[in-house]
């Protein structure tokens, strides 16, 4: 199945510059958020929102065509 992913902020560095933080990847059926992060080699603490909804946990099972928004939380500035 295919999952659309948008990485925000500093996470854009996990993809080539030309991707501008966006990529579609192929995964096994019933892949979880943890599986997707492993494919992207993201080891740091991130927040993942699925299809514009609330944030989901690492063990959340994905469906074909799901859209993930991946970002970090830094408060302040």
């Amino acid at each position: 199945m295919q999952i659309d992913i948008e990485l925000l902020g500093p996470l854009v560095d996990y993809l080539p510059v030309s991707a501008k933080g966006e990529i579609t990847i192929a995964t096994k059926d019933n892949a979880t958020i943890a599986d997707v992060l492993k494919i992207l080699k993201i080891k740091q603490k991130v927040i993942v929102a699925v299809n514009g909804d609330e944030e989901k946990g690492l063990d959340h099972v994905l469906f074909d065509g799901d859209k993930l928004l991946v970002f970090t939380l830094v408060s302040g500035g």
Partner: protein, 646 residues
Amino acid sequence: MPFGYTGKVLHVNLTKSEITVEEPEEQFYRTYMGGSAMGMHYVLKETPAGVDPLSPDNVLALCTGVVTGTPISGQSRITSVAKSPLTGCIGDAQGGGFFPAEMKFSGFDAVIIKGKSPKPVYLWMHHGEAELRDAGHLWGMTTGDTEDKLKEELQDKRIEVLQIGPAGENLVRFAALISMSNRANGRTGMGAVMGSKNLKAVVVRGKQKPTIADPAKFKELQKLGKTNLEPTGMDGFGKYGTPGVTTPQNKAGGLPTFNFNSGAFDKHEDIDGIKLFNEHLRGHEKDDQNRFGRDTCFSCSIKCKRVTEIAEGPYKTDAKYGGPEYETLATFGSYCGIGDMDAIIYANALCNMYGMDTISCGATIAWAMECWENGKITAEDTGGIEMTYGNAEAMVKMTELIAKREGFGKILAEGSKKAAEIIGRGTEDYLITSKGQEAPAHMPQVKRSLSVIYATNPFGADHESSEHDPSYKAFPERMKQIGLTNPQEKLALNEEMMRFAMVTQHLSSAVDSISVCAFIFGASFQLYGADKLVEVINAVTGWDTDIAEILEVGERRLNMLRVFNSREGIGRELDTLPKKMFKRPLEGGKSDGYVLDEKEWETALEDYYRLCDWNVETGHPSLNKLESLGLGWVVAESEALSRVIS
């Protein structure tokens, strides 16, 4: 010699040109730990109630903490406290760089300043000694020129300078203290307080490095900082700095736009941290930004500070004035509807050059723009400058006029709340202030526990005084360390979220007292959690503190700030939010339609008071709470407080 701190506090009476040295007992350091709490001890002891913030009797305390100057990330911070000329409440501002560590090396933990010099002077603290020197020739100079001149005069390039620019001299009510020409103790107008005292700068130099009680443990904690870089994401934070949050904030509907009327800005990519890094940091032409475009504080491995340079054109900018933080990109950018990065970089440089808080400055201009858009301010007021949203040229011009107190800038230099009082015509409806301080770039409509913190914080709306709502759910292990185990759903504004706000506020308050960086030590995303903050303090000082004691230090400091306001007769009546946050739903983006419910908010406010043990009717701390924190003396020493606190 104590471990970590010097054991010496410098007292300067500028009226009498007197300098004395106090050597407090160890228990004093254990009680306050430094920074804001230590400064508040002196402000409460030595400032008379009802003092005019710009009069000689206002006391300005500049305090480092017990770990400042030790070689670990996040320790080089200094806090300034005094009554604020912007708000009339207590003022408080933190800053970093190399000045705080160097001040410790000069042989002093803190300097307490009172009085007013008959002529401009600077304070020269070096190698355990201190003296006042003439600064007549420096008065009127920009921060960069002053720093260059002092290095030349003292024949030492390694001095560090904490100073006011022309804005502080001109008593702009949100004037900042500036070090390195680009680091600011920005908020609440501490620069105006220093300016009112005819004190141009504090200059420090020394070689007295703090001794560390447990070097082996300290080394282990230093190493942990490196190990933690990737899992915490602080390596990416260092690369893109605070501006890296701009697009995520926008996606969440939390990027204040058009003076807080929207949480989404259609030009957010133009003011984003990725663009700033790729196209504007010094060295970007040769892809060498990491070497030339990032700066740091003493002994900090994160290197989150931006360095920008514009070689030519109307926004020509010298790299010595640094680069914009997220807050600055928002206040001069999205708040004003401006997507011109060069203009924002230049406005940031003007603020550093003249010595002003970029948050209050940008937000005050944004307020004027909304007034203009609604016909409340016209060209007759502004001297012909068209204050329309998106007008970068007007924003830059107004920044300069404010610093110089010229034209319409003379009114805006009072801050937006006082400016609204001067202008009238319903302009107060467009304010985004709490206690007269302009709101920073995090939206209470989106992060709801912040709404109560913005309203109740003793020095006005502030984004660094507590953790933000999403952190509760996102960092369960670290939240558990401070007893928070019941995260709530998004947008919840209930008793548990008030507990989250208060407990994380106590930790943030401790961070500002120990005087360490809120990006390095804290309850959620930071490089080190609360447990490691305790270990760092213990390794440096040889103490046996724990998280409970650290939280109590934070609570003590919060109550000291709060009771200062009580003594000024300020309580619940000023714990308010801007009207528009209740009346005007946000427009566009993910937060479209968001608005705070007044009744729900009042209930949350009262929950917060009860949790704090503050009187629900008056907002004042209870005597019981103050005594439990060892602060009974504050009430005992004040007739005014004895009448209102029981």
